[in-house]
């Protein structure tokens, strides 16, 4: 029923990473020019870990998750680089091979559950379908498993709600149903693309708690895409900060909040109004706008908005794109893409930025 996925023998050493993205580039040719949605992204995710991808609109975070799921295949997008999922290489895989992996090894939860579920089919039927595609069982067994999952995600009266349509569920319940659909085949990788942005804060708290519980129970790897740093602090173990299609800083969640070294990360932390600190008289926004992905700024992609370019000799920020290099501050996986000297960066953080928070 499904094609056997290709297992390459020449795969690089990814260690114990379940998902390994290597130099991913996703470019879209358009009438206005080449849109560089993602331009050289690499990261690893292990089982049992929650990796947060943080970025604003146009940073490339959703394009990345769609590339992992192979949703760009068949479109005009030009994808280069490698994505290794448990021994399978995804960029070169065919649509057939991707279909066998989706739902089974990896699944996705989308931002808006109302538009992600088919309005004409009952919720239970949609979830059971996901199970039946990957498992040769009877419909009755699939129904039983679906009701189990609905119960597991906290939907009351799951046997009755099985026959409801998506519009009969509230926003929070619909998102839970989406989580049930994503988890019904026990995927080892779950990608959640802004799963709580459209939900109220009290419902968000319930959903995030549920995701953490399920992750502990199934030992899944989770990629959580969000722009909300509070959500990152609450749920993630590691973070990738994306800007203009590139990763500009990555590390553990403590690295990002207590020892960030990239001016964009500083800007994100200082521009947020916070409930847990003394109220500031005036917010400190990052000046300017997110960059155009067609006319990407030459040199460092953040240079038009960076207030620290004078700490770099010459015009390096405007001519050379910095590499993502490991830094000694913080955890072992902490890496930063910036031309400023690491010691200078740490000095700026502890001396100038952190006291203002």
């Amino acid at each position: 029923m499904t094609a056997q996925p290709l297992v390459r023998l020449d795969k690089p050493d990814v260690g114990d990473a379940f998902l390994s993205v290597r130099d991913l580039r996703v470019h879209f040719p358009t009438a206005d020019g080449l849109v560089k949605g993602v331009d050289g992204l690499s990261f690893d995710v292990r089982r049992g870990e929650i990796m947060g991808i943080v970025g604003e609109s146009g940073s490339g975070k959703s394009v990345t998750s769609q590339a992992i799921l192979g949703l760009h295949k068949g479109s005009q997008a030009r994808i280069t680089g490698e994505i290794w999922l448990d021994g399978h290489e995804l960029v070169g895989a065919s649509e057939e091979q991707m279909r066998s992996l989706r739902g089974d090894k990896m699944a996705m939860i989308f931002q808006d559950p109302l538009s992600s579920m088919h309005p004409f089919y009952r919720v239970g039927a949609q979830i059971a379908e996901a199970y039946l595609v990957h498992n040769k069982v009877s419909k009755a067994v699939a129904k039983k498993r679906t009701i189990e999952m609905l119960d597991r995600v906290g939907i009351p009266n799951p046997d009755k709600r099985f026959s409801d349509y998506p519009h009969q569920f509230s926003g929070g319940m619909r998102q839970r149903a989406m989580i049930a659909m994503a988890l019904v085949c026990d995927p080892k990788l779950l990608i959640a693309d802004e799963p709580t942005t459209a939900l109220d804060v009290t419902v968000q708290a319930q959903i995030l708690d549920l995701m953490k519980d399920l992750q502990r129970e199934f030992n899944s790897a989770i990629i959580l895409i969000t722009h909300d740093l509070g959500v990152v602090a609450e749920t993630c173990d590691h973070v990738v900060v994306m800007y203009g299609g590139q990763c500009v800083e990555t590390g553990s969640v403590n690295d990002l909040f207590y020892e960030p070294e990239m001016p964009y990360a500083w800007g994100l932390l200082t521009s947020m109004p916070r409930m847990d600190r003394t109220r500031q008289e005036r917010l400190q926004p990052i000046p300017g706008q997110p960059p155009s992905l067609i006319r990407v700024p030459k040199g460092c992609v953040f240079n038009p908005r960076c207030g620290f370019t004078e700490h770099v000799p010459g015009r390096l920020c405007y001519t050379d794109r910095p590499d993502l290099l490991p830094t000694s501050g913080g955890s072992a996986g902490h890496a930063v893409r910036c031309h400023i000297e690491p010691d200078e960066r740490r000095r700026l953080w502890t001396g100038d930025i952190q006291p203002t928070l």
Partner: protein, 384 residues
């Protein structure tokens, strides 16, 4: 607990929020029900969506009142009724001493120079077929306001004031980003120097780094033009920054109304407690220690709100703490919005000030180290 708080010697302290007679805007028992009709030839009303159900508050000149709550609480509808975009079903709206609730549209027109609105969605609130010049210049034309140097010069100076390039006068909305479109909406709202602006979630649709720019702009304009804001939002962190006083709404009613610092440091209503504890704090170590109050279940329908206190079906105190006689009271008696502490109005039969919820360490309260409800490894959630 059931008598309103009366501070010594302060006979003129308001006991209910609408008692503030000096306020620019005073709303008393405002109600907006949307009828549900059934029938083919003859439509009968079979019920109503009680979107706003007896809301009272006052806004003083020059201050910002934050109106917070989750979806379906009625905050946006309240904003629209105050600006008379929707007609109220009942209640009074005193603007500058005059009751505008029953004024007809033609009578309201002249008041529109004084009451304006900024909308949430920068994409649908601007006419895509009009240039910026037309959009921002429309208030002058509609109100037939005289200008010194002509409408175009006024519009360009407004554009500059909100941070737009005046040379873009002839551009269309689709040529601007979301943050810039929101600035156009702001320019349009301040064009006639209104007294009161209702901001309906003005930054929710914007990126985090742009939100801060727009919030700063709104504050600057408030200081420069002496504006009064009603700031409707669901983001508690943004409201904490910009508001002077905050009203928390739930299912069409105000649950708590207090000065900002009081509300964020010692909230008294159980709903405010759970709302504050649900906001994730961007600090991993603090997040791991925090106590979370999770609400069980879904929001009841505003067509059929629960009897007595509308919050009792989800109230953590009702579920876990109160005795049966107390619960009976919550089920049958609607709590009035009364002063339970100086300037702090709470609609609850059993309010309790709690200081450790939103900003434990900042308020100088000893942190939650001792109440180790699931520390670093746990979720720290107390589902009551």
């Amino acid at each position: 607990m059931s008598t309103a708080f009366r501070p010594d010697g302060a006979a003129d302290t308001p006991l209910t929020p609408a008692d503030d007679t000096d306020a620019l805007l005073r709303v008393n028992n405002l109600t907006k029900h949307f009828p549900i009709k059934q029938g083919i030839l003859i439509q009968r009303q079979i019920g109503a969506v009680k979107a706003v159900d007896g809301v009272s508050f006052a806004v003083r000149a020059g201050e910002t009142l934050g109106l917070v709550g989750e979806s379906g609480c009625g905050k946006s509808t309240t904003g629209r009724v105050v600006t008379k975009l929707l007609d109220p079903t009942a209640g009074e709206i005193y603007f500058d001493g005059q009751d505008i609730a029953k004024l007809k549209r033609s009578q309201m027109r002249s008041l529109r120079t004084d009451i304006q609105m900024i909308f949430q969605d920068p994409y649908s609130s601007l006419n895509p077929r009009h240039t910026i010049g037309t959009i921002v210049g429309a208030p002058f034309r509609i109100q037939k306001t005289k200008t010194d140097k002509g409408v175009k010069a006024e519009v360009q100076s407004l554009m500059e004031r909100v941070g737009l390039n005046p040379e873009h006068y002839n551009r269309y909305p689709h040529e601007f980003s979301g943050g810039q479109r929101q600035r156009i909406g702001i320019a349009r709202a301040i064009a006639l120097r209104p007294k009161l602006i209702v901001c309906d979630e003005p930054v929710s649709a914007l990126d985090v780094s742009i939100q801060a720019q727009v919030v700063n702009l709104l504050e600057d304009l408030q200081n420069e033009f002496g504006l009064t804001y009603i700031f409707v939002a669901h983001d508690l962190s943004v409201v904490r920054h910009i508001a002077d006083r905050v009203a928390v709404m739930y299912l069409g009613k105000v649950m708590e109304l207090a000065p900002r610092d009081t509300l964020y440091s010692t909230p008294m209503h159980p709903y405010t407690h759970s709302l504050m504890s649900a906001v994730p704090v961007p600090d991993p170590k603090k997040e791991g220690r925090r106590e979370r109050i999770l609400l069980i279940g879904d929001l009841p329908s505003p067509i059929n709100p629960p009897p007595g206190c509308v919050f009792h079906t989800r109230c953590p105190k009702y579920r876990a703490v109160l005795s049966e006689t107390d619960r009976e009271r919550c089920r049958t008696e609607i709590p009035l919005l009364e002063a339970k502490a100086p300037e702090q109005f709470v609609a609850c039969h059993f309010p309790e000030a709690r200081a450790d919820i939103a900003s434990g360490e900042d308020a100088g309260i000893a942190g939650n180290e001792s109440s180790d409800v699931g520390s670093e490894s746990g979720t720290g959630a107390t589902a009551l």
